[in-house]
Amino acid sequence: MDIWQAVLITVITAATPLLIAALGELVVERAGVLNLGIEGMMAVGAACGFAAATLSGSSALGVLAAIAAGVALSAVFALLTLGLATNQVATGLALTIVGLGLSGLIGAGFVGTSREAIPAIRIPGLTELPGVGRLLFGQDPFVYLSLALAIAVLWFLGRSRAGLTLRSIGENHTSAHWLGLPVMQVRLLAILFGGGCAGLAGAYLSLVYTPFWSPGMTAGRGWIALALVVFASWKPLRVLFGAYLFGGATVLQLHAQAASLGFPSQVMSAFPYVATIVALVIMSAGRRKAAAAPGSLGTSFVPDR
């Protein structure tokens, strides 16, 4: 296997959890809701996924448990922000704090255990193709799933009627309500979808990326996924592009660290966070204020009664 293929595969591996989580949050934000709790939901997803997979011996059950955990946490967020109209930023922060704590509680019994990573797909004949075989036909299932998810979200938002309804609600919830669109129901579904995606992204971390559980293993990826949505101007294909760009940068940094260019390792470790800030600056400076953001993003909706 040549070196480029190997590098590209690591790029994809680094990008996939970001992509999955960011696509989920993209849908949530296009519905007009800002859920800052991704980091927490991802952490719980990682812990639950690993715990369930280890206890049951089934990776598939692990993945399902992770998704369920993400959905459950996001349901709490929905209850507070939709049901009680609490501030979305503060509630999302609370969700992150709860999620990080809970992941520690759930994962406590599994620190130090490790298990086989979910294997990559093998298609006889194709995966062995020189040059591109492993890249195209030998990834783990999550990679294909994440790409399919990107296409599905793209189609859903751009082409489907339900997607149009969701965008309208995110754009202006008062108008949407006047037209009889089900603002609360659509937002609820979007939030649960985002939670499921965050849980799934967490499962990827603990079942594929580093097949063990360690506290704080999300390492800010949930926040980076949030930044990706802004960076992508709320467009699914740009999220895909951004996630891979970011994955590439992360891998580059790991290689630079390995090559020991004389920088302290902390400089390299800080790279993803600084890069995120720089990306946000470039995107924000390049466009008129919040032009691409959904009009009702982050604001509570309380209809007259």
Partner: protein, 518 residues
């Protein structure tokens, strides 16, 4: 009229819709108090009333947006429950909102499609938009994003959207408030065609001339109750007005003849890029207002009024100091507080959230616009007791009614809060006063008080600019009139010499005059 005989035929049988004994309470306020209303197919029925009379609440109930506490809705004689707009839509009730229910960043076709039942593809929707547009003279480009459209075009989207659902009853809430007089004429033709086709129309307005011209039935509401049901064609405008207001209509007293002073407020080739994403740029605005006169700025909503106000107040600063002059001094680079120190004062359009912070008390809202000009703040400290005294003085002079001594501004009614924010500025005795929509959405009593105060202020020598969408208001108080269209301000015309038709053309941008050309 072609449809007249068809309309009369449908007088038999039960009405299309009838409301019986509708009661709607918000906390202690009873917005609708046992309201009855009948609308027949093919009828254009007027719902008349002042702001705050309960019209909007009633139509929201009829459209399923609000649930009544008591009473019954019958559709063709059958009792129905309208739990949400979907229910109303299924029966065939459509609505054209006063504050449009549109999505700025979506296209025209998307805006329409989102309100239609599922299952129709975009191509067929586009085709139907075109055919309805042709039939009723409502042309639209399906692919245009809404934010690029004028208010008139936006209203067309609302109407087409309602028509594509083939409504049996169409509710229109103050539809002409955003139109030029000529656009309003076109709308009336469309509405008459609809009625001739058997659709019932509920037409909500406070403009009585329109009612007399268009409607064959009218229900008049006052303070939440129905006070009269009549045939408006048989009534005089004056009688309709007194039914609405409940007493003889108050009119403002013209100021006694007084000398005009020197120019106190001046704009010179003021150009400004907009702050907001979809805002309007101001393009070379010229204006000179002398002490003692009121200049009215007419125009359809969304043509740069907000931007013009911000540029005059200093919320947006001009590039050149000379672009804005107050009492002869360059003020274009001054911020709003510096302009206030030059004895200018400002009242923005939005009461709650711009002119006043709704959750702060009245006295705190005094500090809001007065802290720079002394009396309520010193050395960076707020003088709460001085602010309370000023708030009490404003409330006394302008008859601001409130539940307790110093309540949060947001708990006041629209008219009382508007009197407060206008009074807050006028009691400072400003040399220049800029007001945007001074009586938008307030009751007739408050409107008369405010208009009188503006006239009296001008008579005491101040230069007053009133930006208003209400032509009646402009004709009632302005000495000279200018029209804003797409960020251009026309020349000013003496109010006695210009007629509505001419203003209408200027509002539509079709009779643009360039006094500086040549």
């Amino acid at each position: 009229m072609a449809g007249a005989s068809g309309r009369e035929d449908q007088r038999d049988g039960p009405p299309l819709v009838s409301l019986r004994g509708i009661v709607k309470r918000f906390g202690t306020l009873t917005a609708n108090d046992h309201v009855d209303l009948d609308i027949r197919a093919g009828e254009i029925h007027a719902l008349l009333g002042e702001n705050g009379a309960g019209k909007s609440t009633l139509v929201k109930i009829l459209f399923g947006l609000l649930q009544p506490n008591e009473g019954e809705i019958r559709w063709q004689g059958q009792p129905v429950t309208l739990a949400n707009p979907e229910d109303a839509g299924r029966l065939g009730i459509g609505m054209v909102f006063q504050h449009f229910s549109l999505f700025d960043n979506l296209t025209v076709a998307e805006n329409i499609a989102v309100a239609l039942p599922k299952g129709e593809d975009m191509r067929s929707i586009a085709a139907r938009i075109a055919s309805v547009g042709e039939r009723y003279g409502l042309a639209l480009e399906p692919g245009r994003p809404v934010w690029t459209l004028s208010a008139g075009e936006r209203q067309r989207i609302e109407i087409v959207r309602a028509l594509l659902r083939e409504p049996r009853l169409l509710i229109l809430d103050e539809p002409t408030s955003v139109l030029t007089p000529q656009e309003a004429d076109t709308l009336f033709v469309t509405l008459e065609k609809l009625a001739a086709g058997g659709c019932g129309l509920l037409y909500i307005t406070h403009r009585l001339e329109e009612v007399k011209r268009l409607c064959s039935g009218a229900t008049v509401m006052r303070a939440g109750k129905v006070v009269a049901a009549c045939d408006p064609r048989q009534e005089s405008v004056r009688r309709l007005a007194s039914l609405m207001v409940g007493s003889e209509v108050m009119e403002v007293r013209a100021a006694a003849a007084h000398q005009l002073g020197p120019v106190r407020f001046e704009l010179n080739k003021l150009s400004l890029a907009p702050d907001e994403i979809h805002g309007v740029a101001l393009k070379g605005v010229d204006l000179a207002v002398r002490g003692g006169e009121i200049v009215g700025v007419a125009g359809v909503a969304g043509n740069g009024q907000a931007e013009l106000f911000a540029a005059m107040s200093g919320e947006s600063r001009a590039e050149k100091a000379g672009a804005v002059r107050i009492d002869g001094a360059d003020a274009g680079r001054d911020d709003i507080d510096a302009r206030r120190r030059r004895k200018a004062a400002f009242v923005p359009e939005e009461r709650n959230g711009h002119a006043a912070a709704p959750r702060l008390t009245l006295s705190e809202n005094v500090v809001l616009s007065r802290h720079a000009t002394g009396g309520v703040a010193r050395h960076g400290l707020v003088d709460a007791s001085a602010a309370k005294a000023v708030a009490a003085e404003i409330s006394r002079v302008f008859d601001v009614r409130k539940g307790r001594v110093d309540p949060p501004a947001g708990t006041l009614s629209g008219g009382n809060l508007q009197k407060f924010v206008v009074g807050r500025e006028i009691l400072r005795e400003p040399g220049v006063l800029i007001v945007n929509q001074p009586t938008w959405g307030v009751d007739a009593g408050a409107a008369a008080t405010i208009r009188q105060a503006l006239i009296d202020l001008a008579a005491r020598g101040a230069a007053v600019v009133v930006i208003s969408q209400d032509l009646d208001e402009i004709f009632a108080i302005a000495d000279r009139i200018a029209v804003i269209h797409d960020g251009h301000l026309s020349a000013t015309y003496p109010a006695r010499e210009i007629d509505r038709e001419k203003i209408g053309l200027l509002m539509a941008g079709t009779a643009e005059e360039r006094p500086h050309a040549a």
